[in-house]
């Protein structure tokens, strides 16, 4: 069992090195796709095996056999518990979908593409399982380096290169701030193990050093999570990255970042930093992100950019779930993240099919051109409904869990944000889907040339099984989430495990046998949450219809849209910045975060 757990991290890395080494021969190059997909399938399979066999206990693996002496850590720990394994399974699944979709992808890149995707997978797994703050940083950097390279790999596209550079620069500044936080925490506690740092911090109340270290440490992760105002790189990168990479950035990286925020809060800072401080920070950043992302998403016509801003919006919702600081909030955030990752992955993959076939991602340019892509069109539109959270699809399971968690935390006002995000992001996707695949609406003004190079040397004009199956599978998983009756129990228990600070510390430092606390499970199907889910979808459809037939909008709607439009234009102006501004925004965000923590 322990070997299997380590292999979740090590197997993708080793496979990457083997593929890279073998690919100097033509025969070896043909190994890349099958071996890559095999490992990417084996990782989630292994995670599922562990989920079943390890059960609800927490396993701690000390690398190099350096077990703690008298409760004091020497080596690096991997902490394998249910919540971490669930995230690993999700990331592995997305990677498998991405690699299958891109089989024989980009012949001129040789095997490098597959190698980098596998290293990204290994890095995500290492980051999620790491029980040591510096170890997490190393995996964080590996995740970054592979992601920047993958984003910029279509070097013939200038935007692609530029997006990758912005991505790399902003994320590296964030990583340096995080590492400064690590150094400051080390100066205070002299420890690197998460549990040990936490135990040390809890012996005194937090002073400025601890609070600001917390802000520094979180800043790097919030950049990866794309919370406003750390989010500027996101649309630049996800709009131009190769399609399978978009799936990984929007589904995997956001989720993994959110997991780290939750884990670090409960293991390291809970009990030292006041709860209200982090609650205000995460809810504040989350709500602003959700609204800004939704508005930006709704007003895009470049498909991948639209999807990228919707990722920003959903990341905000996930941040709010963590900010509720309860097991049920985490369960909601987790369910929501899974629903989002799968729906979004399917959407990106279909968008990639459109790009390869029509060489544009402009919604207006594509008007009616997808009429004959029945299956792809169906996937796209259902995935849009799934993103909007039509019961029981996609994000609905998460939203339903939110209803309970929000009531517990007396933060019902967030329901408004949730409905708004669902309606605007889902509505924007529906608008695009109906326009492209059904040909509904006014004939749009095509505007200037929006031609983009297709992905790969020999782009596939026909959509075979390997191209359609991955988005279909992701969509089925997203749909199944709300239908599977056991899902609420799994999520609630995992949320409770995450919040069990004492259990984590005992398992890591004292080799205790720790099992997840029992929880009372609230069923997902309740009138309120189902009603809100339907409301969001109805609003989304109304929004889509208004977007499709601008000429037939009633006068009241036009009048009401006036002020919104001015606000949105301002928002777009702010986003028309350059990379220097992005870095300034990171500093501003750090300042706001730090000030929030200090103030409360």
């Amino acid at each position: 069992m322990n070997t299997l757990a380590v292999m979740l991290v090590v197997a993708p890395l080793l496979a990457g090195a083997v593929i890279a080494g073998a690919s100097i021969t033509p025969l070896g190059r043909r190994l890349a796709d099958p071996l890559g997909v095999a490992v990417a399938v084996a990782v989630p399979a292994g995670a599922v095996v562990l989920i079943v066999t390890v059960g609800e206990t927490t396993r701690v693996l000390w690398q190099g056999g350096w077990e703690p002496v008298h409760g004091q850590a020497i080596g690096v720990a991997l902490v394998v518990d249910r919540p971490a394994l669930l995230i690993v399974a999700l990331v592995g699944l997305l990677t498998a979908a991405a690699l299958t979709w891109s089989w024989h992808f980009l012949a001129d890149t040789g095997a490098s593409y597959v190698v980098l995707v596998l290293l990204f997978l290994g890095a995500c797994d290492g980051f999620v399982l790491a029980g040591d703050v510096f170890d997490a940083f190393v995996w964080f950097e590996l995740m970054g380096v592979t992601a920047y390279a993958l984003t910029g790999m279509r070097v013939e596209e200038p935007r692609s290169v530029h997006g990758a550079l912005s991505f790399g620069i902003v994320n590296t500044v964030g990583a340096s701030l995080s590492l400064t936080g690590v150094a400051l925490l080390y100066a205070r506690t002299g420890e690197l193990n998460l549990a040990a740092i936490g135990a040390s911090l809890r012996t005194a109340s937090a002073d400025h050093l601890v609070l600001i270290s917390c802000a520094l440490l979180l800043t790097g992760v919030l950049v990866k999570m794309a919370l406003v105002p750390f989010h500027f790189w996101t649309a630049d990168a996800e709009a131009v990255a190769p399609t399978p990479v978009c799936v990984l950035l929007s589904g995997a990286m956001i989720t993994v970042g959110a997991f780290a925020v939750a884990r670090w809060w409960w293991v390291v800072f809970d009990g030292a930093v006041p709860e209200t401080a982090i609650r205000h920070a995460l809810l504040g950043f989350g709500a602003v992100t959700a609204v800004v992302g939704a508005l930006m998403c709704a007003t895009q016509r470049h498909l991948k950019r639209l999807l990228a801003y919707s990722t920003v919006a959903h990341s905000g919702v996930i941040s709010c779930g963590i900010g509720l600081l309860s097991g049920s909030g985490l369960a909601a955030a987790g369910l929501y993240a899974v629903g989002h990752a799968c729906s979004k992955g399917a959407l990106f993959l279909v968008a990639g099919m459109l790009l390869n076939r029509f060489e544009t991602l402009d919604e207006h340019e594509l008007y009616g051109r997808g009429r004959r892509m029945h299956l792809a069109g169906a996937i796209f539109i259902v995935a849009g409904l799934s993103l909007a959270g039509l019961p029981p699809l996609g994000t609905w399971a998460g939203k339903s869990a939110y209803s309970g968690a929000l009531a517990d935390a007396h933060a019902e006002w967030l329901e408004v944000v949730l409905v708004l995000v669902s309606a605007l992001t889902g509505g924007a996707v529906l608008r695009a889907g109906l326009r492209i695949f059904v040909g509904l609406g006014d004939v749009p003004d095509p505007g200037p040339d929006t031609h983009e190079e297709p992905e790969g040397d020999t782009p596939r004009r026909r959509d075979g099984f390997r191209v359609l199956a991955p988005p279909a599978v992701l969509l089925v998983l997203a749909a199944g989430l709300g239908l599977w009756p056991g899902v609420a129990a799994v999520a609630q228990r995992a949320g409770a495990t995450m919040t069990d600070t004492g259990g984590y510390v005992d398992a890591v430092l004292h080799n205790a046998q720790v099992t997840a606390p029992e929880v009372t499970v609230e069923p997902l199907w309740q009138a309120l949450s189902a009603g809100l889910g339907l409301l969001a979808v109805v609003l989304g459809i109304a929004f889509a219809v208004a977007g499709l037939w601008p000429s037939r909008r009633p006068r009241i709607v036009r009048a009401a849209l006036g002020p919104v439009r001015i606000m949105v234009r301002r928002l777009h102006d702010v986003h028309r910045a350059h990379v220097g501004d992005y870095v300034s925004w990171v500093l501003v965000g750090f300042t706001v975060l730090g000030a929030t923590l200090l103030h409360t």
Binding site: A20, Q63, F134, D135, G190, H208, L598
Partner: protein, 250 residues
């Protein structure tokens, strides 16, 4: 407000805010030299228990070898990425047949000095890799010396000689072997029933070469990885800088 002024204002707000926060945080630090080091007080005896004189090597290649594996793959990824990103593309491929190398006029003494230094530098690099467990140095530093040493031939002005010294495919393979080697060394521990990356080889007397068990082997794998990754990076950048397009592409 113009865009440039808005940018300045934003920077002023973010920069001063971050500066104030940093100063507040630093005020809470112990004075330089007075920081407590509980982890270090465990790491030193742990290193000595495995007969590794260079405690840093023990931390890097034994106690926290898992970090080093990740770090090695960062470098590996960067080299793979550089090869990927700096590949010749469609429009460049057409001109590839009449590529030529930029002219370089170099004083012949520099030429000679470069070649004369080549061999000793390589020796130093290998020495530094080999002695990582007992004296300052190790795979990282030795690998860097090896890679830069090889490029003395370029300083000597002879790109053609450098190309002959540095067949890129070999370093491609060596890099992969270095990276995979580290992982496989770690896996070897699983076969003797120890956890991943355990230093399971017998250790010798403190201070002697090959005293630290697996630390030496990890050092060699890292040295190989670092040297070949840096060679690949330098090769790709040199190729970009030196190769000029022949013909009329503008």
């Amino acid at each position: 407000m113009t865009r440039a002024r808005a940018s300045r204002l934003l920077l002023a707000v973010g920069g001063s805010g971050a500066a104030i926060l940093m100063l507040l945080a630093l005020g809470g630090l112990p004075r330089l030299g007075d920081v407590p080091h509980p982890y270090a007080e465990r790491a030193v005896p742990a290193a000595l228990s495995r007969h590794t004189a260079n405690v840093i090597s023990s931390v890097n290649f034994d106690q926290r070898a898992f970090d080093t594996m990740g770090e090695e793959f960062v470098l590996f990824a960067a080299a793979v990425a550089a090869v990927l990103l700096l590949r010749r593309f469609h429009d460049e491929e057409e001109d590839a047949h009449d590529l030529q190398y930029g002219p370089r006029d170099v004083w012949s003494a520099a030429n000679l000095a470069g070649f004369a230094l080549l061999a000793p530098t390589m020796m130093v690099g290998l020495y530094v890799v080999a002695h990582g467990a007992v004296s300052p140095g190790g795979g990282f530093q030795g690998g860097a010396v090896l890679a830069t040493g090889l490029h003395l031939a370029y300083l000597a002005g002879d790109y053609v000689v450098l190309q002959r010294l540095r067949p890129v495919a070999v370093f491609d393979a060596a890099e992969a072997v270095g990276a995979a080697g580290f992982v496989l060394l770690g896996i070897s521990a699983l076969f003797v029933g120890d956890p991943f990356l355990t230093n399971w080889l017998p250790t010798g007397t403190l201070g002697a070469l090959a005293s630290a068990g697996m630390v030496e082997l990890f050092n060699v794998a890292v040295g190989m990885e670092v040297a070949s990754a840096l060679v690949l990076l330098l090769a790709k950048f040199l190729e970009q800088a030196l190769v000029v397009r022949g013909g009329g592409d503008a």
